[in-house]
């Protein structure tokens, strides 16, 4: 029955990775930014949810909402404090802006991480789950929360897909990721589009963080590995390709879960990392990369 265990656990974990990676890729696709404070935003959202339910004794739904709100606020803060000032700066040469933004978002992530550790200690925290209890399917005992996580992740991804492909503003965002000059020519203000995108990113990262907090728990130490896994997945799938990220998330998620169950939990990150190295050597633009 270990096969089913791997199937279910792998699916849930991959779904969580997918949600995080999608946000990461969206930001890169539309505004060209590799946000290295990604993990920090996710953890901050989780900790906010934990604080709301644990310290302020709010219900799990309110807690989750608090976490997502924090995610959105931090996303906007990232844009306003690190990305936009550098993009508009006259003191930094154009060719160096990308590097500066990378470094600035990395620093910002560290700032958030240290703030969390300072305010809430770096102990692991779990968020009060919305769905409790255990269920047995096909001989495998799994927390209901795990199924809930997978469902919510895919619902969020589905909503994003609907937004981008079926709504007019969503199509403008998608168009901006293909060709920012093009949307300007059609009368869309890019600055508004960027705000929308960072807001959506905040929703995605915040949700992923809260769900992670409910599912596995987080601590300020999770920040680095979360950012690392998000960009490994995104690089594997191809920078800027959302479908690539989704597929890569599942590849990585299943590789990790299978390794953890079949070999040893200690080695679980190795196969994904080896795959990443192979891709870097053979096809640096990733599976579906565009840029």
């Amino acid at each position: 029955m270990i096969f089913w265990q791997i199937l279910v656990d792998g699916f849930a974990i991959s779904a969580l990775y997918a949600l995080g990676a999608t946000g990461f890729t969206l930001i890169f696709g539309v505004s060209g930014v590799l946000n290295l404070s990604h993990g920090a935003i996710m953890v901050a959202a989780a900790v906010a949810a934990w604080a709301a339910t644990g310290l302020l004794h709010a219900g799990p739904y309110v807690g989750a909402l608090a976490g997502i709100v924090v995610g959105v606020l931090l996303a906007f803060a990232t844009y306003a404090l690190t990305v936009r000032p550098i993009q508009r700066s006259r003191r930094i040469a154009e060719a160096e802006k990308e590097i500066f933004i990378l470094t600035a978002t990395l620093l910002w992530g560290i700032i958030i991480q240290e703030a969390i550790a300072y305010l809430f200690t770096n102990n692991a925290k779990t968020v009060l789950p919305i769905v409790e209890g255990v269920v047995t399917v096909l001989g495998v005992r799994t927390p209901r929360n795990e199924y809930f996580t997978a469902v919510i992740c895919w619902a969020a991804i589905g909503l994003l897909w609907l937004f981008v492909n079926r709504t007019r503003s969503g199509k403008a965002v998608l168009a901006a990721s293909m060709n920012p000059r093009g949307v300007t020519l059609l009368g869309f203000e890019l600055s508004t589009i960027y705000l929308v995108v960072w807001g959506i990113y905040g929703l995605l990262a915040g949700s992923a963080g809260v769900l992670l907090g409910m599912f596995l728990g987080v601590s300020s130490y999770s920040v680095g590995p979360l950012t690392a896994s998000a960009f490994s997945i995104v690089v594997l799938g191809g920078l800027g390709s959302v479908s690539g990220s989704l597929i890569a998330a599942y590849v990585v998620g299943y590789l990790e879960t299978a390794t953890a169950y079949l070999v040893s939990p200690e080695y679980r990150t190795i196969p994904a990392l080896l795959l990443l190295v192979a891709v870097m050597y053979l096809r640096p633009q990733g599976l579906f990369g565009r840029r």
Partner: protein, 309 residues
């Protein structure tokens, strides 16, 4: 005008160096120890700055090279001591770093922009995972204690680190100003033009990688035998890498010497803020972010010519 400032800076620098050299006479072992770590970090930062100036790309994983040097030296010593002198271990560490640097350079130089940064970051992750997984050999997350150290005398350790920093800094700075430094700068700034002027750009960038790797690995190996232990948190962690990059940026990109100033500043400031506990890293990070946003040219850049890029 520049010559005048140059020579004023030069004399100022000379005075500081002399003061630093005789510091052991007056100052406690604690301060000496702090500065020893700062000097080794300064070499990390200077090596990074050289590569940045020459490859023209940001290496996000300097700790790949540092870690290779430190752990190779540490593992060799823990396995073969006392049959193997620590100086052979140190040399082996530097060599391992050079090999690692060349192996990293091959895919990294084929790509550019964010992919280059990511490739270097992946290398660090690989090393980190490798160390944790093969804990029997490497000590895993706990760390690897090495049986030997260079010396237990704080003053001697300080002088060795200081001397090493001077020599390494001299060589790295000299390289950056030499004729080959000029070729490397051309390769980094405009590879197509450099090719049209008759330079084999790949060869030169590989050389830059090798030099940066050599000094990073050597400094890492030396530091292992100062601290008496090798751990992921000191040599490999991305946070350490970020510190190296910040040091170089704070001091002034592409000045080489600025990186040393930035490193000493960061280490001393970090230590000075230690009483604040968790807040210390926070404050240092905020400072660094402000510097990047408002003074992108760093200390040396500011002194030389204002805050315009």
């Amino acid at each position: 005008m520049r010559a005048l400032v140059g020579s004023r800076l030069f004399w100022f620098g000379a005075v500081v160096l002399v003061a630093a050299a005789v510091l052991p006479l007056w100052v406690s072992g604690y301060v000496l120890g702090l500065l020893t770590v700062a000097y080794y970090t300064a070499v990390f930062a200077m090596s990074w700055d050289l590569l940045f100036g020459f490859a023209g790309e940001v290496n996000f994983g300097p700790t790949f090279l540092i870690g290779l040097g430190a752990y190779t030296a540490g593992i060799l010593d823990s396995q073969f001591s006392p049959d193997l002198s620590i100086w052979w271990c140190i040399l082996a560490g530097a060599a391992a770093a050079v090999v690692g640097g060349v192996v990293l350079a091959l895919p990294a130089l084929r790509v550019s922009g964010p992919y280059f940064g990511l490739t270097t970051l992946v290398a660090v992750l690989m090393l980190q995972n490798f160390i944790v997984v093969f804990a029997d050999l490497t000590g895993g997350e706990i760390g690897l204690p090495v049986p030997d150290v260079i010396t237990i005398d704080a003053k001697l350790n300080y002088l060795i680190a200081f001397g090493f920093m001077l020599v390494a800094g001299g060589i790295l700075f000299g390289l950056s100003r030499s004729a080959i430094g000029l070729i490397l700068q051309a390769s980094g700034q405009d590879a197509v033009q450099a090719g049209a002027l008759g330079f084999n750009v790949s060869k030169h960038k590989l050389f830059a990688f090798a030099v940066s790797a050599f000094f990073s690995g050597l400094s890492g190996a030396l530091m292992v035998f100062y601290l008496g232990t090798a751990s992921v948190g000191t040599f490999v962690d991305i946070g350490v890498g970020v510190q190296v990059i910040i040091a170089a940026v704070l001091g002034g990109r592409r000045t080489v010497l600025g990186a040393a100033i930035g490193a000493v500043f960061l280490i001393v400031m970090g230590e000075g803020l230690r009483p604040l506990g968790e807040l210390a890293t926070l404050i240092v990070s905020v400072t660094a972010l402000l510097v990047i946003l408002f003074f992108p040219n760093g200390f040396l850049g500011m002194i030389r010519g204002g805050s315009r890029a």
